[in-house]
């Protein structure tokens, strides 16, 4: 178990330049694909946000949370969902989409989930810049708590990589995995308290389960950094649960990676 984790970590850290180059050129190729290129990276989330805001904010007249208007409250959490969601769906396909590479050369397969996340990281940083401008215009000025975003962003990245390790290997064994993950993403968006706040009248048990969701920990963390300023330590229970889940995912994912590292070529 520890041997496989050591192997995966070693492979990832000795190939940082490879990860960087692959994600850089993937991004470039993506942009060349369409005429407007980078524009779609922003247009897509903006249209989605407007849809949710229209349905929940305008039609259902959702009130703000703790005095924060609904649109800003939603944006604060939604922005990180726009990072995690493509990481999970593309991460699942990380190995399979690179089949023409791994069948033709000796290649450290376990770095592939990291390349997907690195690519999305760039998109996320662009979105964050826009969001910062928006928040400053709305009167939420940057302060020391915003630095916590870096911590939560790395949480999101590590979580996505760990999850993708498992799903990408499973996807090589049975392509159904990707279909399942795609189907679950919509579910996950609505089950995670991103668009709605956890109502206080829910039974305690359900609340606990909702809060144990690792994605909720990250979403909650983002909002805390933007608006509530309670600090990272205020959520130490959830932190523990989050890292426990992430660790288990990573351990299982690297175990699978290690076990099948030479077998991928026979699974196509």
């Amino acid at each position: 178990m520890f041997k496989s984790m050591k192997y995966v970590l070693h492979e990832n850290f000795t190939n940082l330049y490879r990860i960087y180059s692959i994600s850089k050129y993937e991004l470039l190729a993506d942009m060349r694909d369409s005429k407007l290129g980078l524009f779609w990276n922003f247009a897509n989330p903006v249209i989605q946000v407007l849809t949710y805001w229209f349905v929940f904010g305008v039609i259902l007249e959702k009130k703000g949370v703790n005095g924060i208007p609904y649109i800003y409250w939603m944006l604060g959490g939604m922005v990180v969902w726009f990072f995690i969601s493509p990481c999970i769906t593309n991460g699942c396909n990380a190995i399979f989409s690179k089949v023409n590479v791994i069948t033709k050369m000796k290649f450290p397969v376990s770095i592939l989930p990291a390349t997907v996340v690195a690519k999305e990281l760039f998109n996320h940083c662009c979105l964050m810049l826009i969001l910062f401008v928006l928040f400053i215009l709305a009167g939420y000025y940057p302060n020391i708590y915003w630095l916590g975003l870096i911590y939560y962003l790395s949480c999101a990245a590590i979580f996505s990589i760990s999850l993708s390790m498992t799903t990408s290997v499973l996807n090589m064994m049975a392509r159904d995995t990707r279909k399942l993950v795609l189907a679950c993403m919509r579910l996950l968006l609505y089950l995670t308290p991103i668009l709605w706040n956890i109502p206080s009248k829910l039974p305690k048990m359900i609340k606990m389960i909702l809060k144990a969701n690792p994605i909720y920990y990250i979403v909650q963390g983002y909002r805390d950094c933007f608006f509530f300023h309670k600090g990272i330590w205020a959520y130490h229970n959830y932190m523990l649960v989050f890292w426990l889940i992430t660790f288990v995912l990573f351990a299982f994912g690297s175990f699978m990676m290690y076990k099948f590292k030479h077998k991928f070529i026979d699974m196509i």
């Binding site: 470039l28 190729a29 060349r32 590479v101 033709k104």
Partner: protein, 269 residues
């Protein structure tokens, strides 16, 4: 460990599983892609691998390159091996230059090393101003020239060339042969997989003939090539029914019965 050998195969077998015709039959068959292969290739030798379609040449090349693992036996490799295949890792949207950088990175080269080889690749590929065009605009010859050039500039100890010369015109093929001769003179081990007998005869020192997943002959280039040519002639002269019988015979030898494992057994065994 014996360093005078570049590659050593000890009873190497590679097994693929086959799906049976009717789904109810849970006993899938297993199939020897390569069966009990033994040989030693000395350092600096140029070996041609011959064989008809489906004899296991491509399987051999990915095993030699270290991409696929052997199922039985052992392979000992002294040195860094590289498989030269065309069109890998070329991204259609990127320009030629960006593709050189990307492919270099995929192969695990450092930034400095990529810079060093770039000029060599550009010169060797002869693509001129197309360097700054997206690869999707390239002709198929240009694409393979670019892919091939990047691989050739890598400078590994052991080169595995898999049917790479069947594309590109005569002029470029000759250029590649010249480049490989240069590498040969530097003392690199080259494994040359090809259908083309004349190319193999010209270029290689020794030859290996694989038939039906088994090593039929390994030795002096002329002897093996003659025997192979004789076999191909003999096979072509057979009537269709005899051909089929010959194929079935070969196929039968490679089959081993096998119990099907389910999804969870595959993860946890």
């Amino acid at each position: 460990m014996n360093t005078q050998y570049a590659i050593e195969f000890k009873h190497v077998s590679k097994i693929y599983s086959l799906k049976s015709k009717d789904k109810k039959n849970a006993n899938d068959k297993r199939f020897y892609a390569l069966k009990d292969i033994n040989f030693k290739i000395p350092v600096g030798e140029v070996v041609g691998i011959l064989g008809t379609n489906g004899s296991g040449k491509s399987t051999m090349s990915i095993i030699l390159a270290g991409i696929s693992e052997v199922d039985e036996g052992e392979m000992v490799v002294n040195g860094e091996q590289a498989l030269i295949a065309i069109n890998t890792g070329l991204n259609q949207q990127l320009t030629g230059l960006e593709n050189i950088e990307l492919k270099g990175a995929l192969l695990g080269l450092s930034k400095k090393r990529i810079k060093e080889i770039t000029d060599g690749v550009i010169e060797f590929a002869e693509i001129g101003d197309f360097l700054y065009q997206p690869v999707k605009k390239y002709s198929s010859g240009m694409k393979s020239r670019l892919g091939f050039s990047i691989n050739l500039c890598l400078d590994p100890d052991i080169l595995i060339v898999d049917e790479a010369l069947s594309v590109g015109d005569k002029g470029f093929a000759q250029k590649c042969i010249d480049k490989m001769t240069e590498l040969k003179n530097e003392g690199k081990t080259i494994i040359f997989i090809s259908h083309s007998l004349p190319q193999v005869r010209d270029f290689c020192d020794t030859a290996m003939w694989i038939e039906g997943g088994m090593l039929k002959e390994y030795g002096d280039i002329d002897t093996v090539c003659d025997h192979y040519a004789e076999y191909v002639d003999y096979y072509n002269k057979l009537s269709n029914a005899d051909k089929k019988k010959e194929r079935d015979d070969k196929f039968e030898k490679r089959i081993i019965p096998h119990k099907h494992k389910n999804f969870f057994e595959r993860i946890f065994d």
